[in-house]
């Protein structure tokens, strides 16, 4: 099921790290890689995130499948960029001229994108979503966002079940989706029904909260304790990220 957290359970070093450390590293790493433009920095970055994946001991096939799914837009760019980018001709397909600059630019995007994706899988997807929520709370993200985030993920599961039951109801009555008004109308009704039910459920949840003395204030109980390993890992990763910054900066200069 697509809403399950496929990579969140495991016994690797990465899984056991303090989630706050993982969030900080993931953000810094993503930002630095996203603004880098030189292969001298990008290729090492890709190496870093690959090693994180290896450390996390994730099933390679599943990771690869994820990458494949997400690289759609990138593939799309590859069809265009080599031909629309002005520069030195590299190859020809019929009347189209592919430029060296275009190919380089497309490669740069590809490396960047995958380096960040891999790091996100290795760092964020290896943490249960609720733990991430709590950790973000401790990192001073706005608490309304945190509670919205936690509540939303909690109820995605309930609503997904309702969605499944309604689609079953459609299937057993011979519904076969096609490109026609009947299909679109039926899906619109399905969405409408989900919204109505969610509205009712929200009301019941609010009542349940009132019954337990809710008066507009949320509390969190989670505590994390930073360990020696976390500090070590954090310093190592900060050094690596700093290295990437220096590489990129030197390449420009």
């Amino acid at each position: 099921m697509i809403i399950e957290e496929q990579f969140s359970t495991g016994k690797s070093l990465v899984h056991s790290l303090d989630p706050r450390v993982k969030i900080i590293v993931a953000i810094l790493f993503s930002v630095v890689v996203a603004v880098s433009s030189n292969f001298l920095a990008l290729l090492p970055a890709l190496a870093v995130s690959l090693s994180l994946i290896v450390l996390a001991k994730l099933p390679m096939r599943k990771v690869f499948y994820r990458l494949l799914l997400v690289n759609g837009l990138i593939l799309f760019l590859w069809i265009f960029l080599p031909f629309t980018f002005k520069g030195e001709a590299l190859f020809k397909i019929g009347p189209l001229v592919g430029t060296k600059e275009g190919v380089l630019y497309a490669s740069q995007i590809t490396v960047k994108c995958n380096a960040i994706l891999l790091a996100m899988i290795a760092l964020l997807s290896t943490t249960p979503i609720f733990t991430l929520g709590h950790a973000m709370g401790q990192l001073y993200f706005p608490d309304k966002i945190i509670h919205l985030f936690l509540f939303t993920y909690r109820y995605i599961h309930v609503i997904f079940q309702e969605y499944r039951r309604l689609t079953n109801a459609m299937r057993i009555r011979g519904f076969i989706p096609g490109t026609n008004l009947h299909t679109y109308r039926s899906y619109a009704y399905l969405v409408g029904m989900l919204l109505v039910r969610s509205y009712d459920r929200a009301e019941r949840i609010h009542k349940a909260m009132l019954c337990r003395g809710f008066h507009g204030k949320y509390y969190t109980l989670s505590r994390f304790s930073i360990k020696m390993g976390d500090i070590l890992y954090l310093s190592l990763m900060l050094t690596a990220i700093l290295g990437l910054v220096i590489l990129q900066w030197k390449a420009i200069a």
């Binding site: 109801a169 299937r171 057993i172 009555r173 011979g174 076969i176 009947h182 009704y189 409408g192 029904m193």
Partner: protein, 243 residues
């Protein structure tokens, strides 16, 4: 349709939801054309699951399913079969998703390729057949529990199925409505399986009663009247004896 032909045939079918406990355990079951079967069993014994397996909404982990003589292991075969097998869900809230009763009842016929006018006609006739006059513009979401049940039944009957699978059709109905449904179902010339905890209802509407337990189905030959002491739910209120 020739009589006595095999409509549903489950051979050594097993199923579990999450890999642990087997809900169906090498279950064998057959429904022939014209048969009327009642199915009883304790809560959680897997009756509903069995219906969902038959309809192809869940896939068995092992075993074979044949529907109308064709082996069914892909969606395509189930899609054809669903045009001929009508399922009533246990929870009426799961069955209705259109804004109005008319649209919901017409949904099936439309899927079978009827024109909007024909579908509307069929829907109105089916509603009339269940005495649901003036229901067509009611909002499904606002129907009472019993009304939802009746309309759900209408959505199934509107597809003119050869086989009816009803999951606790009398659940939550008042006595009057229950009698109405019982009479309607008695009158239908269809093959059918009715899940119910209400033996009285099953005696009136089916020919044979099976029981489900431990992932298997048994023919319950011992379903004969016997007597013992019990207390009764609405002692002082007017009540009928069921089960």
């Amino acid at each position: 349709m020739e009589s006595n032909s095999l409509i549903i045939n489950l051979k050594d079918t097993s199923f579990s939801y999450s890999g642990d406990k087997l809900i169906l355990d090498l279950l064998n079951f057959q429904l022939h054309s014209g048969e009327r079967i009642g199915l009883v069993g304790p809560n959680g014994s897997g009756k509903t699951t069995l219906f969902h397996i038959i309809m192809g909404l869940l896939s068995p982990s092992s075993g074979k399913i044949e529907l109308f003589g064709k082996p069914a292991h892909e969606e395509k075969v189930f899609r054809e079969a669903r045009k001929k097998i009508g399922l009533l869900f246990q929870d009426a809230d799961d069955q209705l998703f259109s804004p109005t009763v008319l649209e919901d009842v017409a949904f099936g016929p439309l899927n079978l390729g009827k024109s909007p006018d024909e579908a509307r006609d069929i829907a109105l006739k089916t509603l009339a057949r269940l005495d649901l006059f003036d229901f067509e513009n009611r909002i499904t979401y606002k129907l009472s529990g019993g009304e939802k049940r009746l309309v759900s039944l209408a959505t199934v009957l509107a597809m003119d199925p050869e086989v009816l699978l009803l999951d606790e059709p009398t659940n939550g109905l008042d006595d009057e409505t229950e009698e109405k449904i019982t009479n309607i179902l008695k009158g239908l010339k269809l093959s059918c399986i009715f899940i119910s905890h209400n033996l009285d209802f099953l005696f009136k509407t089916t020919d044979r009663i099976y029981a489900m337990a431990n992932g298997k189905i048994f023919l319950d030959e011992a379903l004969v009247p016997h007597s013992h002491v019990h207390t009764h739910k609405f002692g002082r209120l007017p009540h009928e004896h069921k089960s």
